[in-house]
Amino acid sequence: MTDNTAVLKEYSTIWQVLEDNAKKYPNFPAVREKAFGIWQTWTWSDYSKNSNNLALGLIELGMKDKSPVAIVGNNRQQLYSAMFSIQMAGGIPVPIYQDAVAEEMLHVLQHSEAKIIIAENQEQVDKVIELGEKLPNVEKILFLEDKSMRSYESDDIIGIQKALELGANSSEKTLSEFEKRKKDQTSETTGVILYTSGTTGKSKGVVLSNANILTAASGAISFDKLRPGMEIVSYLPMAWVGDFIFSTCMAPLGRLCINCPESRDTLMTDLKEIGPDFFFGPPRIFEGLLTSIMIRIEDASTIKKRLFHYFMNLAKKVGGDVLEGKSVGLFNRALYALGDFIIYGPLRNSLGMSRVSVGYTAGEAIGPEIFEFFRSIGINLKQLYGQTEAGVFVTMQPDGEVRSETVGVPAPGVELKIGENGEVLYRSPSSFVEYYKNSKSTNETKDNNGWVATGDAGFIEDVTGHLKIIDRAKDVGKLSSGEMFAPKYVENKLKFYPNILEAVLFGKGKEKCVAFINIDLSSVGNWAEKENIAYGSYQELAGHPQVYDMIENHINEVNMDVSKDKMLSGCQIDRFLVLHKELDPDDGEITRTRKVRRQFVEDKYSDLVKALYDGSKSIKTETKVTYEDGREGSISATLEIRSAKLVK
């Protein structure tokens, strides 16, 4: 394994990498953005020039040394460039989730005390303006898109073009100040503050130093042997650590080219156009892809359907082995090659993954079928386990050792151990400095020797050395019988069914386990259409008896599966109901990264939980909801409660 700290000998900050690339490879593409119908391409030299100008502009606008600057918006060339500009100018970039509502934004802005905000468009600027009085610190807002911004423009709200012009014509004083600030920086200088989405409570600002970032990026590049010139599509939120490491750190260090899609609606088309070499997606992206494949193939002609299923069966048998270069026999290999031409190749092409040499998924457990599906058609999909505090990578799956149940071996430079309570702990040069202005939390998470508690329970397999994650450490509890209660473990099994979008399991300290189920509207809706089931709303579909039958079957199967594991067999579901609304980040029920806020849900739907335990057959309830435009309302429903089969 290469030493990922070697990179620190060459560079001490991430923007130095950019500057180095601009010098050595000025005309190679660095970052593209789909805009005005084509992929507008910046070379390394364009990228650097823009970043320098903006940095100077920021200083001209009064940006102080070491001060945080917020960035909010979709993945945009200018925003990525702004990350470097802020660092160069001695500041600390604080990216914010672009779909955060104003209140969520408020916390980050107040906590970080950012004085300058770089926002993508009117939508984001509006949110900041809405907060108005509550943000006395904010001095300047820069915006990227002029559209509808004409009436906003003032001394404090200015277009980024203006800032760039200021930078291009900056004074001598600014220039020398700029040089000084750049020179002052070391590898220990803070590179970024990333606010975690936080499953509980207010989000915390994770401080990563340049050393953290550089070692993490360098380790990942060597681990997967990424080569210069590879393409990545940057579509995940810029505030998320993964995108930060991939697009802002690994890209310059490995000289990868990043591509920003035109909009969220065009992501799939844009992804297909680019055909990335390196792809990261949370499990739900892959679930979504698989569901759409299955739905579309169902509508295909009989011949195509037969071909598809025939070759998918073959792929299931031998695809994984072919991918790992294991022997499958000459006949199977020939057949697989034919399948590759007729089915797998076109499939990969239609997903935009023809060229993917490394694909990763993380964040949540991925369904084994989904995982195997993508591997079997020749996409090298792997899992990694990580968190913001680690600079993403804790463990990664090396080629040839990929299994869906484990999350791989420690990433370069990472040491791993299991705590007394079963919690996974790690230590690495990439692990974070501290939580910003929150030493209490820092001390809770990171001990004096640098070991960081992940908050996840898991164990290391003896033979392979691979890490296996069971659940959130604090969620793992005991039933009243003393048996182990690991809700996530069961929920994940349920969520592997395409019809189930979310599941929430209750049972800590109780005798039995009960569950809420959220159906997947696209998948169940499609099924309903085929079965000729009429429904007027989500609620009506969710409450349909036939839907209940279907969900009951799924739960029975999961119970069967869970019963096989002695340690966890108490986690079988006794009674369940199908929720009448989708769990929604706008209602605070799940996080923006789609993690269930267990306690919140339990409190909000306490009447339902109670009914699940008191044996009633149905329950009438009323629920508050927040609509997309921010209005609030409430819906009422009568929900059926069913019992599932328990296996002894």
Binding site: P29, R32, G37, I38, W39, Q40, T41, E231, K272, E273, I274, G275, I293, R296, I297, D299, A300, S301, K304, L307, F308, F341, I342, I343, G345, P346, L347, R348, N349, S350, L351, G352, M353, S354, R355
Partner: protein, 358 residues
Amino acid sequence: MFYREAGDFKTSYQSDQATFTLRLDKILFWGLMAIATFIVPFFVTEYWEKSVFLPFFIYSIAALGLNILTGYCGQVSLGTGGFMAVGAYASFKLMTGIPNLDMFLVIMIAGLVTALVGVLFGLPSLRIKGFYLAVATLASQFFLVWLFNKWEWSYNYSPTGQINAPTRDFLGIDVTGPSTAPWATYLFCLGLLFIFAWITRNLVRGHIGRSWMAIRDMDIAAEIIGVNPLIAKLSAFAVSSFFIGVAGALYFSVWLGAAEPTEAFAIDKSFDVLFMIIIGGLGSILGSMIGAAFIILLPIFFKNVLVGYCGIPTDIAEFTQIIFIGALIIFFLIKEPHGIVAYWRTLKEKLRLWPFPY
């Protein structure tokens, strides 16, 4: 199924608006061109030359021309035969009048002459539309054929009224007259077709082409955008006639070698070319060629299969063929007004989406 588009992205408008935006299409096209240019000439026999390739290339040029007028600009013309006659007689006069003139120039000048005549007969298009215009173009058909029948100067006072193509060359290689080699005429016409298809493509992708299509789709809206209907229609007539004149010149000088107006340029020619673009595809370059191939190959097919293979008498085969073509026209107008090329597009779309239906 064959398309692998992932990674085929465009970073400039130039590549986004290229003729072949898909890598595979580009490879296929140039592959086919390479075969046609470097391999076929070695094997082409006189039969293939005279019965298949020359008629295909020449009618393709004519169909491209008519498609510019009808498919792109929306002006139906039934005067194609007449305009081909202009091209043919112009080339005859040039070949006999200036014996040293290179054949390429002869063809081009013949095209120019036809373009002038076309503009003249296109003038009524400013006042009349639709089938009024279609009928008006019949005037040019009848008048021009009559003219070349009666105007002795046009056929050099030959007692038979027939015109015969003397031997002329293109860059030193004979392409007309009795002693030409099949590969020479084949390559000459192939080259011209390539050039004219390319020109068509260039014209229809720019603002002139768009002004034609605007006139076709909604002439009133075209006018308020700044399109002068006079210029748009007349330019379409001019370009279209140029193409048809070139086709007429090649038809007479390179392919037939001799012609007599009432037979060679009768109204059937006008219909044939019109059918080519209806069946092939209105407003499509590929469609023009597919249509030409179809109408050229159909009689050969009928002759070989019905007469040669099934032993059906020639006249019955001929009648069946007429019925078949007529029925096909009706079929396409009802089922697929965009012609065979629409099926081709659907097929391609299916291949691109394979194995999914959408």
